[in-house]
Symmetry: C5
Subunit: 356 residues, 5 copies
């Protein structure tokens, strides 16, 4: 995580509202995609900032302006001017290391959300988060993505297809659809976590290894990261579904209540992950201890059986002139017999003590 927030402290001392990109910078040329629609039709086109100011460009009532890539601060300032956004909103869009949050600026709402994906590099996989900023106004929605992702593909398709109520309802329903599509994407991560958990549990029972331990720790770390990221989201959605803002109609609030239930479900699953990883760590430690006790027993059994035999051999190896039985023809076999008897007796004793 250190590599992420590194640039955060570089901003200390700058006046508020300064547009500085914080977090990992994705190298994407920013694109602006406009989608305007009403019940009668939809039009999608890639536009420039200049087009935004030109009102005659809009054929339909509700506008969805989607910005892909955050590289161009100048362009952002123009967009900000077009929609009368507060300087802090622009600053926050560029700061991709933020918590999810909801800010009500009266005539528009500013919402910061996170999407998660597994990213694979040389040291293994880790959960990476992208930030999505959404602005909801009276008849427009602005969405700002860090990269040219397909996050909102399904919403675009539904708009084009005109399926369901989406084209009949206002910008607030579009806003809901975007948030819902983000929250739905969390289930993918959750299912991956569940699979990992099950795989680890199986590994723990079958054959725990040091790598199992590190996998448990990584799982724990991912849980910590997700919990930290999802808790503020809970507040955001909770506050939206309470209907504090007049921008949302009562009908849309019912749908937001549903999203809220999903987010609670997700958070509770992540919370139980915490308990489960703690339990798995305990089991790992116990298994290692148990294996030590098994090895110890083997060692003790071996030592206990061979030490007396070796002593007997040593005794008959002493160079005393007068040692009973040395000259007897059966002496050797008698001693071997004694040795065998001792071994068998020991084994019986250990079996009786349930050590074998």
């Amino acid at each position: 995580m250190a590599s992420h927030s590194k640039k955060r402290s570089t901003k200390a001392g700058l006046p508020p509202g300064t547009l500085v990109h914080i977090g990992k910078k994705k190298n994407v040329t920013p694109r602006i995609i406009l989608l305007d629609y009403d019940d009668n039709g939809v039009r999608e086109s890639e536009i420039t900032v200049a087009d935004l100011a030109d009102g005659t460009r809009f054929a339909h009532g509700i506008k969805w302006i989607s910005v892909h890539g955050l590289g161009d601060t100048h362009m952002m300032e123009q967009i900000g001017a077009c929609f009368d956004l507060h300087p802090l909103v622009l600053e926050d869009i560029f700061n991709t290391e933020q918590r999810s949050k909801l800010e009500d600026y009266g005539n528009y709402l500013y919402v910061v959300l996170k999407t998660f994906s597994y990213e694979y590099n040389e040291t293994g996989e880790r959960i990476d988060s992208d930030q999505i900023s959404l602005v909801l106004g009276k008849n427009f929605v602005l969405s700002f993505l860090e990269a040219d992702s397909t996050q909102f593909g399904s919403v675009r398709e539904r708009l084009h297809a005109g399926k369901g109520q989406i084209r009949k309802l206002g910008a607030d329903f579009l806003m809901y659809s975007l948030i819902d599509s983000i929250v739905d994407s969390y289930f993918v991560i959750l299912e991956q976590l569940d699979e990992k958990t099950e795989a680890l549990e199986t590994e723990l029972v079958a054959r725990p290894q040091p790598s199992t331990l590190h996998s448990i720790y990584r799982l724990k770390r991912e849980g910590v990261f997700l919990r930290k990221s999802l808790w503020p989201l809970r507040e955001v959605i909770s506050s939206l579904q309470r209907g504090d803002s007049p921008l949302f109609t009562r009908n849309t609030l019912l749908y937001l209540r549903d999203v809220y239930d999903h987010i609670i479900h997700i958070i509770e699953s992540v919370e139980s992950l915490r308990d489960l990883t703690a339990g798995m760590l305990d089991i790992y430690v116990s298994s290692v201890s148990y294996r030590i006790s098994i090895v110890m027993k083997v060692l003790t059994v071996i030592t206990t059986i061979f030490m007396p035999l070796t002593l007997i051999a040593g005794i008959y190896g002493m160079n005393f002139k007068h040692l009973p039985g040395l000259d007897s023809e059966l002496g050797f076999f008698v001693v071997l017999g004694i040795m065998a008897t001792i071994s068998v007796g020991m084994l019986a004793l250990f079996r009786w003590k349930k050590w074998l």
Copy 2:
């Protein structure tokens, strides 16, 4: 659990209100059972969706329509139309991976509850949950079960028998009776958990084994699962018994307060399970450590007794020409005597040190 929620992410991107069955699908042909009653009588019959729309079918005042099996989305849409249910309610009935919840749609209440049962498969037993959706309207109750279960058998019997107040009171009392029958069924699971806990405690004291460890973890996991499932239920019942909805009469609220007490009692029992499994894990680890220390002592005693004896035998096995006592007739026995003395001394020392 992974296998359960797998299908959840498949739904991402679909418009809200799309009826997709989420969770394990039970292969049951859906049946609709109508039970209408008032103080004078009861009638129970299996009906089709078409019958529902036909008002003349109802002989008595209060209707309980019970749907067993969720396979048929078309049928569900018709039922939704009959009782004017919101599309989100229908969507939620099909999503069997939800949290318990209560939603107030003004003229009806939608309640999602869970039932639990132990399910046995090749990898051992696990707690499985079924979802039950209940809708309470002015004079009707709808219940949607995943399968053709006997969950509400006792309520049906009481309706037929006319025992108690159930036929004298309204649909809200029927709703209470259904919820009460579900909450009562939790005590069965709770008692099984208690029995397992006691069995494990006995096993821990008598003879802890690796399988004990895995049993503790499974118990912990079941506790985590139940806690996660029961907490939202607490909110549901709490909100019901506060009487926020006018659909419940004051008389029924007294009964709901009783159900609320039961659910709190159940949650507290599950919460203490958490403490107990943590304690059991600690004891298991300690027991293994203790056994290691016992084995270590045996090993050390054996080594400490035999090593000096073997050394003495080795010394008298050296091939020096001039070795005192080799020629003496008693030499051998003197050495054996020394060995015996050392052994006895060692044993006395260990006994005095409380190692034996």
Copy 3:
């Protein structure tokens, strides 16, 4: 605990208000004891249910009807009818596996409390709980005990003696006195727990054994059980002392505030027990580990000293013709000298390394 709640699930499916005894049934013939008093005098007598209905039986203003033993459901129904109790109250009196609770039925208050005592059986001692139900009306108090206990002996004595204000004040003060006598009895259990804790701490320092471990777990379990039982009590007394019910006069509320302080004090003591048992478990585990490390050192020291000596003896036991010193008269003593030097050097090394 399993044996206690076993019968709970047997009740599933019965209509609410059905009187079924849940929990361990004490074999006592129910007795009803009436105590009526005012400032002028007291009268105590054992009565039948029939006497209750007969109003002329009461010589004084305030009535305390105490039922010992819950065996007779028919009798209870008659008592319920006499004092106009809700069916749920009667059901709850019989269900002795409940949480402490307070229910306000308008013209009377229903309070469920618990008393605790140590019970000894073949598997050791355990905390057992009895349930006491209290009903406070305008000028009467009903108390229902599971068995013929002496719980309220001191209150009866004070009533007879007329000491203090008890006879001058109303039924609410009698109610307070009964609750106070129950809460006071908790201090006995608390002191026993404190003594056990101290004994265990001493044992841990002096000579930890596997039985110590099981004692700690038992203590923990008792703490879990008491915490679970006492938390709802806190709510009950808190709600009483807030004065929500008009049945309590302001004067009595001052006394209830005092009881509330006691119950908080008791709960906090039980809570710290949790921290202490956790700490004791840690110490036990550490002690065992430490003892293992001591045994390991002894073993290593023995092995390290004897192995080189045995090797030297072995070398001079080899059958080579040409082995330097074999023929020398001093050879044997030189080798013994070398052995002694090695031993002393090793011992010095270990002492310097602080292993001995």
Copy 4:
């Protein structure tokens, strides 16, 4: 703690308001010290109960009556009568095993506080708590101390010296000064705890021993005890500084807010002690485990080096007639050379494996 609360249960069954001394009884003859003052002057004198009733004894406006020692129940009853104290207040003053609390009796406030000090006995030191009861009336403050302590010495000096505002302001400012002097005394204990913590941390790094473990547990126990004692205090001061009682002027409330900050600071320090002792326990356990692993390695290295050498010596000690090299003059040195090579190779291997 057991020894403290022992007498608590002896009180069960007595009517409320009975004056019974609970807790360790300090053998002090009770003394009453009167300090009356206003802006013009101060007078301090030791008085009897009879003097209290005699109003002409007071030369100045504000009275501070300080009772040292709680032995005399009769005297207390007279003081109670003088100032019209509720019987429960008198009872609570004698019960020195209480939680800190604030009770508002309308025309006076009753506050119970605790002071802490280390007490040394044969089994080591422990934190002991004394109880101080304060009563604030319109123009008087009563303070009840268990023993003849110097707790309020600094306040008396300030009154005599007339420094600061203390003589210019009312009884509420005197009350604040007394509370402030108690809270200030907690910093002494806190600093002792901090020193112990640092000492233990140093010991843990340098040379952990079983006694370290018991010191950590004692520290933990002291933290548990202090937390339990200080939490109710937080509520008391919080409630005072909110200004619920008209006895406090706005000016004094500012000062109480300051005391509240101090108490929060103290509680937070005690809370972090909990985390630190938990961490120390973990380190202790880890250190012991680590030392075991070191000892194990030494043992294994010794065994692994000497066992093959001993075997070789044993092989050349066999009594076969035809054993290659026995007759060779160099045979012995070749075998010694092989032994040396094996030893060096083993040592190199272990060094390469980082075991040495």
Copy 5:
């Protein structure tokens, strides 16, 4: 920490408002720097206390008086008189061992904040905290720093440069800028903690050592210290951004909301540190246990292979006259062959058991 709060208890007994420096005293000669500005210009000058009282010294509307170094109590009293500060404010400025806090004195706000920095000494590094006191009045801000730090350098530069809104807005915006610059400085510490965490995680996987353990504990301790220090800050900023004080304009409140988000982000990061250090400790312990089990296996394998071989050698070393094979020419090689077979068999067995 002990060394810090040591002087706290020395203050016990002094009247409130006494100016005593608490905490480590930095040896700095106090300097007063005045910065007055409005939209038209800025002037910065070092002044004396006497200048403060002389109103004609101020050229511009908004004054920022910055005091560097707290050594001079007399000077502070004069400043206090100039701006009519409460004695408790002056006392708190000198007590540098306080929690962050906000106090509203009606016509001015008093805010205590903390800055953190790593300090290196002979026993290693530790987090050190400095205290900054801020007073916001109608058109002035007072800042009190313990030493002559560069904390507010960037704000001064922005004032001089006139960049952004800072010179156009009131004293409340200056106050916000100062708080923001402090909160921004926390990200530096946070990033250092993140780097340490990553370094420790790498060390844990690669080669855990006792020093790793102590680093984890130090990290934990730093987390505990920061959490304790940052929680009260959260309350301070939360209370500021709620806009309880009329000194803040609505515009500035938007900016404070942003600072509040930052502080929450920081606290959440510190909180997850707690989980991570706990997880790291567990891994360390497990790694050590695992290494023990590896060493144990090696030891057991060595012992198990060599013991039977040594016994065989011992048997053929016995001095029996009649020992089969001694005279055979191949006898020696047969025995060696048996030894080799046993070794290979043992190795195969261990490999099959996955011990090697």
